[in-house]
Symmetry: C2
Subunit: 256 residues, 2 copies
């Protein structure tokens, strides 16, 4: 995609940062140019400037990465850090008992964004990653966040494309609508094989001081009937996190 002509430096910088991903955290300048549609000379000059300010850094082999200084600035004042801090003791507890994957996610645009994930070696397959995204309709976290999300968002998602990842994915508006009502009624989402046949997600809402749902706490475990016993563990942990989030809000600490 060619950039617009009089594009601002910040817009170009944003596109350069977007060129990196978890699969490709290191890129050459020509790869950056190709991905952003910038001329190599422009990309090279901008990479130089961004490196000078610590936004990017260069390996010995001249490959470019996100800079540790930028990571530091963003993470230390991160909007996610206080929520994550509140959740971690509970997530660790669930992880000790359940194993596999324990995750914390928030609504971001029309997708789920994962803030944190604890995984055991040899855990069941799971597509989530820290700072990774999944669609709202297919994942247990997404269903919890959508069920408690704005009505306008619900309508947009119901009217949009509902990809079926497996035969079990809720991929019709009628089924998704019924499922969202069920998630609200029962207080959690239980999703056998929605994203992958072998995996089952269970998610429960984390609420802020005013009772609104601010996040979803979830586990991904093998897709079998024994998973039902894990539901109360997830619900209890999510309530515990909500309690801490409320208390920090009351103390005046930023909680989101």
């Amino acid at each position: 995609m060619k950039p617009p002509h009089h594009e601002s430096v910040l817009s170009r910088a944003a596109r350069i940062l977007e060129a990196f991903s978890s699969d490709e955290p290191a890129l050459t300048v020509s790869e950056i140019a190709r991905r952003t549609g910038l001329h190599v000379a422009t990309a090279s000059r901008l990479v130089g400037e961004l490196t000078a300010h610590g936004f990017l850094s260069r390996d010995e082999d001249r490959r470019v990465r996100i800079g540790v200084r930028l990571w530091e600035l963003v993470v230390r004042a991160s909007p996610a850090l206080s929520l994550r801090d509140a959740a971690m003791p509970f997530m660790e507890g669930v992880h000790d008992v359940v194993g596999h994957h324990v995750q914390l996610a928030v609504l971001e645009g029309e997708e789920v964004l994962f803030l944190e994930r604890l995984s055991a070696p040899n855990a069941v397959i799971n597509y989530t990653r820290i700072a990774g995204r999944l669609p709202l309709h297919a994942s247990s976290s997404g269903l919890v966040l959508l069920a408690h999300g704005p009505a306008t968002l619900k309508e947009r998602v119901l009217a949009g494309e509902l990809t079926a990842y497996t035969p079990a994915t809720p991929a019709t508006p009628a089924r998704l609508r019924a499922l969202l009502a069920e998630v609200r009624r029962q207080g959690y989402a239980y999703c056998p094989g929605y994203v992958h046949d072998d995996a089952l997600g269970i998610a429960a809402p984390v609420r802020g001081a005013d009772g609104t749902v601010v996040a979803a706490l979830s586990v991904i475990v093998p897709n079998d009937r024994s998973a039902q016993a894990i539901v109360p563990v997830v619900r209890t942990a999510a309530r515990g996190v909500s309690r801490v989030v409320e208390t920090s809000a009351a103390r005046g600490t930023a909680a989101g």
Copy 2:
């Protein structure tokens, strides 16, 4: 501090990001202007642009924060994420057994930068934070990283200011030099009361595929003699992380 006259947009953007901290993750535009030395009008225009690109976001009460989109871009391709992923199972294990604080840190400039921290409720006092820094000479992680760091860095730190946080802090060049030799010889740092009278740090090196020290794994526990028993736990975990980092490097996965 007044900015230089023909300062670039990126340089100003960097100073705006630097204005946020873990203590103050949300600022008004006039606070940003005050902290960066920019005119309010300039700060306001830049905050607008940075918000449009997702670098910053605004609360309902108009306070400005680091943007979730920027967090996502930086964390998903973070230079720290693969090291953190390798370390987390071991850190969780140590945290289950030892409690208090378990941390992962790297050398950044002339300081320790903490990538990850697990903390128990009611743990002993600890000044480290995720994406926070400590001086090299006073913390157990810093001593491990400095002991195995470049000779030039060692000389600069030995010639620089060595702040004494407590009577126990190694605050003279002679004592620090002896301590660094000891850390190298014994394979870990044992630091009773160096940063705070009540706390004791124990750190061990994490090595990359080529044997160089890439990080320090540490615990902060109460400052009493029972801490000595924790040394083998920390050393074993740090060796485990090194093994995983080596293996991922051999498989071609980015390991730093």
